[in-house]
């Protein structure tokens, strides 16, 4: 089994190198050329979003992979610590009512920031983190066991894997299309929601990954907490 893993790793690294040598990534000579190029080719109002979702998409892919391997590492190594039980529902009524009123607002606001990342500052990473904080408020109110059960029922972990698959297939299809990641009809007019090439799909995929990964980390840390 160990040798199989090593062989697969080497094959994966070889494929990566082949991929890098084959695809041609165009580079700009000056950074100020981006401003006009984004309006013409990309169509999103947020230049930062256009850069990390269109021109430098491979960097975003590696960010997502780093995030995924961080979660993998945490969930493996934290199992060596003793468990301390779930976070119980809060005892004080004031805290309960305040957080349960606050949590859905924060979570929905996080999803809004995620979806409109190509129109105003925001995007997948901040939106996913804000959504995870909203779910954390919910877990503080009703206890982490119920929240984990709700996540399990919604099959959010499978959705996370599908999101990674969607991201990878989007990038691969684009690489074979000479770097043009999505068909041109997605460009749209800057300012409308349906613009920015693949921004909506990519924001949703990366956002789901960050959201579910953030909740996984929170749940693991809360289960293996220190109690003196």
């Amino acid at each position: 089994m160990k040798y199989l893993a090593i062989v697969i790793t080497f094959i994966g690294v070889g494929l990566l190198f082949a991929f890098v040598l084959i695809t041609k990534i165009p580079s700009m000579n000056s950074p100020s050329a981006y401003a006009d190029l984004v309006l013409k080719e990309d169509g999103s109002s947020n230049v930062v979003s256009a850069i990390y979702l269109d021109y430098r998409l491979y960097d975003s892919l590696f960010e997502v992979l780093v995030f995924a391997s961080a979660i993998l590492g945490v969930s493996y190594y934290i199992s060596h610590f003793p468990e301390a039980g779930e976070v119980p529902p809060s005892d004080s009524k004031l805290f309960f009512i305040a957080t349960i009123a606050f949590a859905p607002v924060v979570a929905v606001w996080g999803i809004y920031i995620l979806l409109t990342g190509h129109l105003s500052p925001g995007g997948a990473f901040s939106g996913g983190a804000i959504g995870a904080s909203g779910i954390l408020f919910l877990a503080l109110a009703i206890g982490s066991k119920k929240t984990e059960r709700a996540f399990h029922k919604m099959h959010l972990e499978s959705l996370e894997k599908c999101a990674l698959l969607a991201l990878a297939s989007y990038i691969l299809l684009g690489a074979f299309n000479k770097g043009l990641f999505s068909p041109l009809f997605w460009v749209g007019t800057p300012g409308k929601f349906f613009s920015g090439r693949g921004a909506i799909i990519l924001n949703i995929s990366i956002g789901i990954k960050v959201f579910v990964g953030g909740w996984t980390i929170l749940y693991l840390f809360s289960r293996h907490r220190e109690s003196v």
Binding site: A129, L218, F221, E226, S227
Partner: protein, 248 residues
């Protein structure tokens, strides 16, 4: 000086305060403040995406993560006298339910016999004793959770060892040499299972006793909480379920 420089200096000071805090919780709070000032600086330098991400992750996510991870729970120290069979499992189940109800952490300290456990109880190192304690009037105890009897036996064969762990609960070293052993039902069952074919005679049975937990004389709150918990478990039928699962 410019506003950005001032915020930058405050950020530096907050960072130094985070490192030099004494308690862990203080460091977490200073970390959240540092993160907020960094987000303000990002916004001043016209990078709103980064500022939003920094606020979401640094001030909310990471701080709450650390605060949850550093929660402290009160502890309940229990001396557990070891009895072979399901009785210890039943008592551990009851105590775990009790600790979950009162948000405590259960710390079980095993003891092979009762006298050392009583020493620890009197010295204050443990708060209660569990493990096949029978409800004699001489100890301060909770309501019984399982009925039992005490049997007085004579042994016809002098070769039975009384040092066998948990054989005799009431015997003290003073009546070691006599022929009468007082034993409760669970230990009698273990004794019969481990010494098959040994002849003992039951002289007398004392009915109406029960297995209890022993607490200190001055610990009235713990006694009341335990009594409430056991009575509630009896009323809802959970106690009977547990007895059926573990003991019989």
């Amino acid at each position: 000086m410019a506003f950005k420089t001032i915020i930058g200096l405050i950020l530096l000071l907050m960072g130094i305060a985070t490192i030099s805090a004494r308690k862990a919780i203080t460091a977490v709070i200073f970390f959240a403040v540092t993160s907020t000032f960094a987000a303000i600086l990002f916004a001043l330098y016209r990078a709103p995406d980064v500022a939003l991400a920094e606020v979401a992750i640094g001030a909310a996510f990471t701080s709450f993560l650390y605060l949850i991870a550093l929660q402290h729970k009160g502890k309940l120290w229990v001396a557990l006298v070891e009895v072979k069979g399901g009785l210890n499992v039943l008592e551990k189940w009851i105590l775990e339910g009790f600790c979950e109800r009162y948000h405590l952490e259960l710390k079980l300290v095993p003891f092979p016999d009762i006298s050392r456990a009583k020493e620890k109880l009197n010295s204050g190192e443990v708060e209660m004793i569990a493990g096949g304690i029978v409800s004699t009037p001489s100890i301060i105890h909770t309501v019984p959770f399982l009925e039992t009897k005490v049997l007085l036996l004579t042994r016809s064969d002098k070769n039975i060892k009384t040092e066998d762990l948990g054989l005799s609960y009431f015997n003290t070293p003073s009546n070691e040499g006599t022929d009468v052993i007082a034993i409760d039902l669970m230990r009698y069952r273990n004794f019969l299972l481990s010494n098959l074919g040994v002849k003992v005679e039951v002289i007398k049975q004392i009915n109406g006793l029960g297995y209890v937990f022993e607490v200190r004389a001055d610990d009235k709150t713990l006694l009341k909480q335990l009594n409430d918990f056991i009575l509630e478990a009896e009323n809802t039928g959970r106690l009977k379920e547990g007895i059926g699962r573990f003991v019989y």
